[in-house]
């Protein structure tokens, strides 16, 4: 599942059919609206989350294929489902004051945000992240971000290895200790990739496109979904 998630987080060539501006604006608007909807607690937010999930899933399936999407999101959905089950159990035993609607809406919101965040990863390439932050005068941050994104798939695998060996080593105890080797691994990897950036040079800056005709479809979709919040 971790391997599949790692593959899902990688930039997809098909993303280039929209302009860079549209690829940033659409997910950012959806994530922001999801967070705001939670804050204002509008009843129509359930519809908004449901539409967001359908919309982003369709775009993700277009990028990676439906089968890969299903495999990749298994882990995230598993966590959300677990959270949902725990809340339902708490609800049944009277341990939480939340209503069943709020518990379900919370799970929908998390799914919508997670899928939109994956879309952001698939749509914006490393070079584009670097260009964006460098043009905003944050070159150092751009470099750190690039290192993190490039190594993300390998870091997820290291996470799986640490999870397994530490869980078995201590017989299920001291679970949080696995953060220690992961931290060391991250530091070593970051240094190695910094070496690579020096040898091969940082990714070349890209020409940021602000508009493509196809963007209309994207903007129309996002607008329609966001408007459901006003119903």
């Amino acid at each position: 599942m971790i391997k599949d998630l790692a593959e899902l987080l990688v930039t997809k060539p098909r993303a280039r059919c929209f302009s860079l501006a549209a690829r940033i604006i659409a997910p950012v608007v959806l994530i922001t609206a999801s967070i705001l909807a939670a804050a204002v607690k509008k009843e129509s937010s359930t519809v908004f989350y449901a539409f967001t999930i359908v919309f982003t899933s369709s775009l993700l399936a277009y990028n990676s294929g439906f089968a890969k999407l299903v495999k990749g999101v298994q882990l995230i959905l598993l966590f959300i489902l677990l959270g949902l089950l725990i809340n339902m159990l708490a609800l049944a035993t009277g341990l939480t004051p939340l209503s069943i609607e709020r518990v379900l809406t919370g799970a929908l919101r998390l799914s919508a945000i997670a899928l939109t965040a994956i879309l952001l990863f698939q749509w914006i390439s490393v070079e584009e992240w670097i260009s964006l932050f460098s043009s905003a005068g944050a070159e150092g941050f751009a470099r750190i971000l690039a290192l993190s994104i490039i190594q993300l798939p390998l870091s997820l695998r290291a996470f799986s290895e640490a999870l397994l060996s530490v869980r078995i080593k201590y017989g299920g105890k001291y679970f949080t200790r696995m953060l220690s080797p992961l931290l060391l691994h991250a530091i070593n990897t970051a240094r190695s990739v910094s070496e690579t950036l020096l040898i091969y040079g940082p990714p070349a800056p890209v020409k940021a496109e602000a508009w493509r005709w196809r963007d209309i479809v994207l903007y129309a979709g996002v607008s329609a979904i966001t408007l459901t919040l006003l119903v």
């Binding site: 990688v10 397994l164 060996s165 078995i168 080593k169 201590y170 992961l182």
Partner: protein, 476 residues
């Protein structure tokens, strides 16, 4: 080979952050078109030297460097690593860190564009992909490549600027036997292309005859080895030795692992109807090429993965020692590791004492942070800590030989033969399997597990160890 000097190191000194000098007045001259193998024990400074050669020792690792380092007669200390990379390119131990774009072809094209501009980018990339027979990998994600493929892809990328000199730092790390042979083919190709080649490697048995010269990095200096003379001495020492290490027979009988017709895969089946039984004290080595499903098999045994069909029964406690061995360690020192492990089994001071005594007996300092141990020491300490504290019924070792020197491999086999637990290890190389005495050897191929016989004679492994000892100046 030309008489012109390609790389010249003179009175080179290097140290990390004001610590002890690692390189102490090292000098080396490599002629154009020459191929040189540099061997050295773990911690001898091979990687530090590789970092100096690619220009990143100072900027990234804060290494203080003194002396002279010239490439084609031009002083190279302090040069921009990107500029230096156009003349001398280092392919590091971990080939996966060479990529700055997920898709191989995109990564190549980005680099080619920086070196040649937009006009020749495509042409250069196509030539490199063809030359290194990696056209079929062009659309692959770099993190999905096997060890051998990643090494080939990293070397291909290094050749994009057509550097005259290529340096490989431990190129056999993570390579299976097929990958080693492919690497040798690649070295032959590079030689035909007239490249100057420098290789740092301690697994030298298969490659030693390829090189024009063999040098040893020892005590911070490099000296040339008289290989024919050393081979004679090593051969004499090998004859008359008793090389086979028997696995501990005590307690054979009780089954600790039973796999019955296990089938599993990721979309496509990786393992089909695999059955295996392992008894206490017994040792089984599973040999298979990279990607054959060895790690998957171990993860099924740990319960991390669930089989599609069949069943797996593990009786008692098990320990998993991963290939990324540093992922095993969670504490600041070996002593703290022992305390934590004893805490996990409610063992008292006696448990900690037992672990510390075992560590000291094997020459390991309990106060040392695990991160400062060599790869071989980390594997050894993991086995000692586990077997003296948790006392597992089954130890699973994923590729424990990968990255170990020949001497460390022999020590590991000795240690495992003295460990009473059942042992199941995976390896991607036949090297040293001849020393595994009464271990059961099994071959994992096309998803199936079958009995195997060692392809290497035990004396070959002993010869490698003896030659390594002579080269590195290690006493018996």
């Amino acid at each position: 080979m030309s008489s012109e000097i390609a790389v010249q190191l003179e009175d080179l000194w290097a140290r990390y952050g004001g610590g002890e000098w690692i390189l102490k007045g090292l000098s080396l001259s490599v002629s154009k078109g020459e191929s040189v193998l540099i061997v050295g024990a773990t911690g001898s400074g091979k990687t530090t030297l590789a970092r100096i050669l690619n220009g990143t020792a100072g900027p990234i690792y804060g290494v203080e460097v003194k002396g002279s380092y010239k490439v084609n007669g031009v002083e190279a200390l302090g040069l921009d690593p990107f500029i230096l990379g156009l003349k001398i390119h280092v392919v590091s131990q971990n080939p996966y860190i060479h990529f700055l774009n997920f898709i191989l072809e995109h990564d190549y094209r980005d680099y080619a564009r920086k070196v040649y501009g937009d006009r020749f980018e495509k042409q250069v990339v196509e030539k490199t992909l063809t030359q290194f027979n990696i056209r079929e990998l062009r659309h692959h994600y770099f993190f999905n490549l096997s060890g051998g493929q990643a090494r080939r892809a990293a070397t291909g990328k290094a050749l994009i600027p057509n550097p005259e000199i290529l340096v490989f730092d431990e190129p056999f790390m993570w390579l299976d036997d097929k990958g080693v042979n492919e690497f040798l083919d690649m070295l032959n190709l590079l030689r035909k292309l007239g490249k100057t080649i420098i290789v740092f490697e301690h697994r030298f048995n298969k490659v030693i005859r390829f090189f024009d010269r063999v040098c040893v990095l020892r005590n911070g200096k490099i000296e040339e080895a008289d290989v024919p003379a050393l081979i004679k001495i090593a051969a004499a020492k090998t004859l008359g030795s008793n090389p086979v290490y028997q696995s501990n027979q005590e307690g054979h009988g009780e089954v600790v692992l039973r796999m019955e017709n296990v089938t599993f895969g990721y979309g496509e089946p990786v393992l089909s109807n695999v059955s295996l039984e392992l008894k206490r004290g017994e040792g089984v080595a599973i040999i298979g090429l990279n990607g054959s499903g060895k790690t998957t098999l171990l993860k099924l045994i740990t319960g991390y993965l669930k089989p599609w069909r069949g069943r797996i029964i593990v009786r008692g406690r098990l320990i998993y020692i991963p290939q990324l061995i540093h992922m095993f360690y969670t504490e600041g020192s070996l002593m703290e590791e022992a305390v934590k492990l004893c805490g996990s089994v409610d063992g008292g001071e006696a448990c900690v004492d037992r672990a510390l005594r075992a560590l000291v007996k094997e020459g390991l300092n309990p106060d040392k942070p695990p991160s400062q141990l060599s790869h071989g020491q980390m594997v050894k300490a993991a086995i000692l800590l586990a077997s003296t504290t948790v006392k597992p019924d089954l130890i699973l070792l994923d590729e424990p030989f990968s990255g170990l020197t020949y001497i460390d491999r022999l020590n590991l086999i000795k240690l495992l033969s003295e460990t009473p637990s059942a042992k199941l290890l995976t390896t991607s190389s036949w090297e040293f399997t001849g020393l595994l005495g009464n271990w059961r050897l099994m071959m994992l191929e096309n998803g199936g597990l079958k009995q195997a016989e060692p392809l290497e004679k035990p004396l070959n492994a002993v010869f490698s160890v003896e030659l390594a000892k002579l080269l590195m100046g290690v006493e018996d």
